[in-house]
């Protein structure tokens, strides 16, 4: 078990059209025993980063180390890491036992007896003991997934690298495996880097999230930090489902002026955005209040466009009153027990304590929501400074 330290890691690929920068000057310090999730849209360089830690790709610049040991230019065989692939990559001609012992036979000096013991212990832990003598082709997707995990676990490596391991499972199994993986990682206490494009997986499983976009690191932090205190508009939009509402606004006389609404700001918020005129106004769907009518400050008349009932909650698409109904401006989530009808005229409240403001050009976050009501006496879970 070790710290994994990436220092200024850059990866460039040569293409017919020139150079593609897959990963750009990435600094990351993954602490011993930490579960770090690398998340981002497809093509953001997260898999490339993981493959560089595994040694399957060599970084163009920068260094990677396990604790004090520099591993930048070592081959995968020389690094003590284990990887789980999205396709599982189980050896089809070997039994489950063969698959799980392969790494131990190749990478360690363990005796046959010790290998057998380790494999059987891991199989028991994963609930695949009865499958040890079957071939991968005879297993279901979920079982293959466990075998792939088992193959990594028996190695007892310095770090686990998981590349979208749950992507090929159906939704129900995926959420089961999510919990199981978390337990497993807590028990083993091994440094883990987990790559996914699914922000739900990132939020629920990780100790810390690293959000990547276009090969650049956007933010590293606990899930709730990324959720409530995004560094920029990309992180704000990527984390959270349904994603944050964004409206383009300009600052005029201490008020935000959008296409369909005006939003007066308090001095406190104004101080944060000083010197920026073109802004993006952001608010999370669950922070939009649905009212009977717009009555006071920060409340606006609106029309319900579409309601998507989810059972526990409803996702409501809303349009400002003056707006054409073909494009809805805001998405809101409300309790599933609350009834709103399509085309109903209502009021919406956009509380100032819940708004985020971003620079329109750079996307940089200028003002994040206040956490007063959540924090109370207790600080936000895991929100201590990194």
């Amino acid at each position: 078990m070790a710290n994994v330290i990436l220092d200024g890691v850059t990866k460039k690929f040569q293409d017919k059209s020139g150079e593609i920068i897959a990963v750009d000057d990435l600094d990351l310090n993954i602490r011993d025993g930490e579960f770090l999730v690398l998340v981002g849209p497809s093509g953001c360089g997260k898999s490339t980063t993981l493959r560089m830690v595994a040694g399957l790709e060599m970084p163009t610049e920068g260094t990677i180390s396990l604790d004090d040991k520099l591993i930048t230019n070592l081959s995968p065989q020389e690094r003590d890491v284990a990887m789980v692939f999205q396709s599982y990559a189980l050896y089809p001609h070997m039994t489950v036992r063969g698959n799980m012992s392969f790494g131990l036979e190749e990478a360690t000096e363990l005796s046959k007896e010790e290998i057998r013991e380790r494999v059987e212990d891991a199989a028991e832990m994963l609930g695949i003991y009865d499958l040890l003598d079957r071939k991968p082709g005879e297993l279901s997707g979920g079982q293959q997934q466990r075998v792939a995990l088992g193959r990594a676990i028996v190695r007892e490596p310095e770090a686990f690298l998981l590349d979208e391991p749950l992507a090929n499972l159906d939704a129900k199994l995926r959420s089961e495996m999510r919990t199981e993986l978390q337990h497993l990682q807590e028990d083993l206490d091994t440094t883990t880097i987990y790559v996914t494009h699914d922000q739900t997986e990132a939020m629920t499983m990780s100790d810390r999230i690293a959000v990547l976009n276009d090969g650049e690191l956007q933010q590293v932090g606990t899930p709730l930090e990324c959720y409530h205190r995004p560094n920029n508009q990309f992180v704000a939009g990527f984390i959270g489902d349904p994603s944050m509402n964004f409206l383009d606004v300009t600052l005029e006389d201490g008020r935000l002026v959008g296409e369909y609404f005006e939003y007066p700001l308090s001095d406190e918020v104004l101080a944060n955005i000083e010197g920026h005129d073109e802004l993006v106004f952001g608010i999370r769907p669950e922070d939009i209040e649905i009212l009977d009518a717009a009555e006071s400050r920060h409340e606006y008349p609106a029309t319900v466009d579409v309601v998507e009932p989810m059972g526990d909650e409803n996702t409501v698409h809303l349009a400002f009153e003056e707006q054409e109904r073909t494009e809805s401006a805001l998405t809101s989530t409300i309790s599933g027990m609350r009834n709103v009808d399509e085309l109903e005229s209502i009021g919406i409240g956009l509380p100032e304590s819940a708004i985020h403001l971003f620079d329109a050009e750079t996307g940089e976050s200028l003002h994040n929501r206040s956490l007063g009501e959540i924090e109370g006496d207790r600080p936000l879970k895991g929100a201590q400074p990194a």
Binding site: A54, G55, L56, S75, P76, Q77, V81, A82, M83, F85, Q86, S87, A89, L90, Y91, P92, H93, F102, G103, E106, A107, T108, R151, R155
Partner: protein
Amino acid sequence: MSQATTSEPDGVARLLPEISYRRLGLYFLILAFVAFFVSPIYTGLVTSLKAGGAATTPFLPPTLDNFTLANWGQAFDQLSRGFVNSFAMAIPATLLDVILGSTAAYGLTLVDWRRQMPVVLLFVFGIFLPYQAILVPLSDFWTNMLPLTEGLIIEGITILPASDRWGSLAELTITHVAYGIPICFLLFRSYYKTISKELVEAAKVDGASITKIYTRIVLPLSKPMIGVVLIYQFTQIWNEFLFSLTLIGSSSDQAATITLILSGIGADLSGVNFPLRMAAAFLAALPTIVIYVLFAEQFAEGIAT
């Protein structure tokens, strides 16, 4: 409830099965093809079982009077030396081709290193080298530059004792191996391209070396393609005539392969002994048929991929 209605034809037509003319035509065509392919085998077999030199009625089966197995016995006697020679040459040549072709394909497909493509192209180029173009330099090479018939001694260790028969066969074997590598390489390469790259990467992360990845992962997965290459290459080498003729020359040579002997069997000044020739042809073809049967399963699997 409505009753199901059927339109039953009346009279005689009801007794006949429904025949579509399309289907009938298809059967006829298939039958014609079967006859086309079976008839030479049939006439050959029938002729080989008849006594007497002339084959005047090739399509008639042998009568009780002129039925004999003597041709088969005689053919076997004359071919036996060729059988030994051909097996001694074809089996090692085929196995070496499989080993060399698959290792070369592994190294050039699943192992990463720079500038692979020119090497791949060199292999592909080898496939298109016409036999005729290399015959003269080939015989020159084995007679003047490296005459294995005089034995091969490296640093005092005798690798091959001087022997006209085994020396010539060794030359022929090496020639076949060299000429077979490109096509075997290409067959294995196309197969290895279908193997998931992640499988090799998983083995790398598991700590396996390049040779271990080959012996423990890639080779076991190559079984279907090994079947294909074994059948294909053995048949090629077994049936090959031109190299034998160039390097060995005459059917009376001690090293004569089965194809060389077959070309002269049953022909002398008194005419052609067709029954003997037919029996010999069947015997000579037997090993390739056996190979097909032995590896048919892998062959079908390999072709399908």
